[in-house]
Structure formats: C-alpha cells, structure tokens
C-alpha cells in the first residue's frame, strides 16, 4: 500500500477501536498518517461503566478523556465534529457534507474509512456514512479518495456479498485491545467477554478480522 493519509470518520468514541483499530495500526506501522474525525462525544451512551461511575451529565467528560487515551495509544490525530450523540440523522445532511468536505480538502486523504449507510445498525453510523459519501461526491472525480465502509447489520453479507477488503488484524491484537480498553465506560462488557472466553467467543473472533466494502465513488 502506498497511502498518503487515511481519514477515519465515525460518530462515537470507541467506534474506531472496535471497528478499525487493527487496520489503523497497520497503516501507522507503514508510516501512513491517520486522522480520526469523531462525530459526537457519545453523550447518550447506555453503558455508564460497571458498576456505573458516570451519569448522563458526566458521561461525555469521561468519553472525551477515554477517546484521547485511545488516539494516543493508536498514535493518530483527532478532530471532533461537535455533533450530539443520537441526533446526527436529524441534522441537514448537506451541512454535514459541507463540513466534512472542508476537512477532507484540507487533509487530502487517499482513503476514508466510515460506516456503510443502511448497513450500520445505529442511526448515527448510517447518517454519518451517508454524509461522507455526499462529501466525497462533491469532490472532482480525480481528487476523490477511496471510501472503505464498515457494514455491521445482520443482513449485510446477504445483501452486499462478501467484503472486498479483509484484514486479519491478529498481528495488531495487542494494540486493538489496548485501544478498546481505553474506552472504560463503554468497553467493560466486551473486555469481560475477551478475558473470560477469549478464543471461543464468536464476538471476540469477529474483532480479529476487520472487513470493509469499497464504495464505488470513482
């Protein structure tokens, strides 16, 4: 791979760690700069730690600290988009796309990683993925980055076929675990699963492979 810059666009602190931290680590090892555009601070998360240490009003303060720790561990840059958790789909998509376009024009990525709209389960995932597509489509054809999309809905393979990009991230598992662990308020359940069942659990095994569809923008 010969990439100049990879930009990751997800709505929640921890989406990058669960969904793409192995791939991010691979790019970083190759010396490719990575920037995470994080849409919200996960203000509406249901996980408050176990036992709960956050409340609805303090959760975002924890989550921004956790996010900063994760991006430090992954050695990537961070930009906060400043939207509010669970409301992205209600924002005007054109404004979202304009905001993203300005950032992409400045960062000049060769690859943008985001969620596959319609196949990403959480309404924020779907909406931000759609805004990324709209932003990239505003660019001149020759300047458009590739879009790699993360699909997580139960029916995605049935409807989209196999993803084109499949990364076995086992070599980066320690980095991925460290990034996930940073998100203490959210990741507790998953960490328990990892520590108790390790190899056996399907959910854990799924984390060891990162799969992306290449969106046809060119």
């Amino acid at each position: 791979m010969n990439e100049q810059h990879v930009v990751v666009v997800f709505p929640h602190p921890d989406d990058e760690s669960f969904g793409a931290s192995g791939t991010i680590s691979k790019f970083r090892e190759e010396g490719v700069p990575v920037t995470y555009l994080c849409g919200t601070l996960g203000e509406m998360g249901r996980n408050m730690g176990n036992p709960p240490f956050a409340n609805r009003e303090t959760l975002s303060s924890y989550r921004i600290q956790e996010l900063k720790e994760a991006v430090t561990k992954l050695d990537i840059s961070l930009e906060l988009l400043g939207y509010r958790d669970k409301t992205i789909e209600f924002e005007p998509i054109d404004e979202l796309a304009e905001d993203l376009l300005k950032r992409l024009e400045r960062l000049k990525p060769s690859i943008v990683i985001t969620h596959y709209p319609g196949f990403a389960v959480h309404p924020d995932h779907d909406a931000l993925g759609a805004a990324v597509v709209a932003a990239v489509e505003k660019m001149k054809k020759e300047e458009r980055p590739e879009i790699w999309m993360h699909a997580i809905s139960n029916d995605h393979e049935e409807r989209l076929g196999k993803p084109e990009i499949i990364h076995d991230v086992t070599p980066y598992w320690d980095k991925k675990l460290a990034a996930i662990k940073s998100h203490l308020s959210q990741a507790d359940g998953m960490m328990n699963l990892i520590e108790k069942h390790d190899q056996a659990s399907e959910q854990v095994n799924r984390l060891k492979t990162e799969r992306f569809y290449r969106y046809p923008t060119k």
Partner: protein, 123 residues
C-alpha cells in the same frame, strides 16, 4: 450516583417545586436492541431542557425501584424504574435506572439552569 434515598430525593423534589426548572427525561433499550435480538424492538424517548414548573412532585417506592411524578399546571412528567440518584455540584437532581450490567435504562433530571450540551473538560 448512589442508591436512591427516598427522603433525601423527596426533599429535593419539594425544594424545586414552583420554580422554573429544566427537565431531562429519557428512556431507551439501546440502538442495538433489534440487532442482537430480532424479536426485540428499538424504543426510546428523549427530551432535554424542557422548561417547566411543577406544582408538586412525589417519589414512590415500588420495591427495588422508584417512580417519580411531577404535576404540572396542565400536565405531568413521570419516570419509572429509577434506582440511583445524585445531587451534583450544580445542585441538579439527577436520577437514573440502570440494568444489571450498569446500562442506563431511564433518566429523569431536574435543574434550575439549562443542561449543557458539551463535555465540561474541567469536571
């Protein structure tokens, strides 16, 4: 947050009655409910910074959790399944119900000042 102490919460509810207050009320079973269980149905409701004044309010024990109701001049606000509370540094009454894994299921919060929309990095 800590386990509800009914009398302390009732005292705070009484203190905030007849004042102009801001309400945060939400309930949800999470954005992934029907992803993990196809029989499930995603539900949620959320209102932030509703500006109201209530005549009186009451916290009622249901054994294990609590219901809280506020009577408005021409309406009601209530929440069910509340288990924990906190009166925070800004003197706001924060109440929430959590499931066994510590996930938030319901929240009712009452404040004399609007709830902010940003993380306070100094908190």
């Amino acid at each position: 947050m800590k386990i509800i102490e009914q009398e302390k919460v009732q005292t705070k509810i009484d203190e905030l009655a007849d004042k102009q207050v801001y309400i945060h009320l939400e309930t949800t079973n999470g954005a992934y409910a029907s992803h993990f269980d196809e029989e499930a149905y995603n539900v949620g409701a959320f209102i932030r910074n509703a500006r109201v004044s209530y005549q009186h309010g009451k916290i009622v024990s249901t054994g294990g959790s609590f219901r809280v109701g506020l009577k408005l001049d021409i309406g009601w606000v209530y929440a069910e399944g509340v288990t924990d509370y906190e009166i925070d540094d800004n003197d706001r009454l924060l109440m929430a119900g959590h499931d066994r894994e510590g996930r938030l299921m319901v929240a009712l919060e009452i404040s004399e000042t609007p709830f902010s929309h940003e993380a306070d990095l100094n908190e």
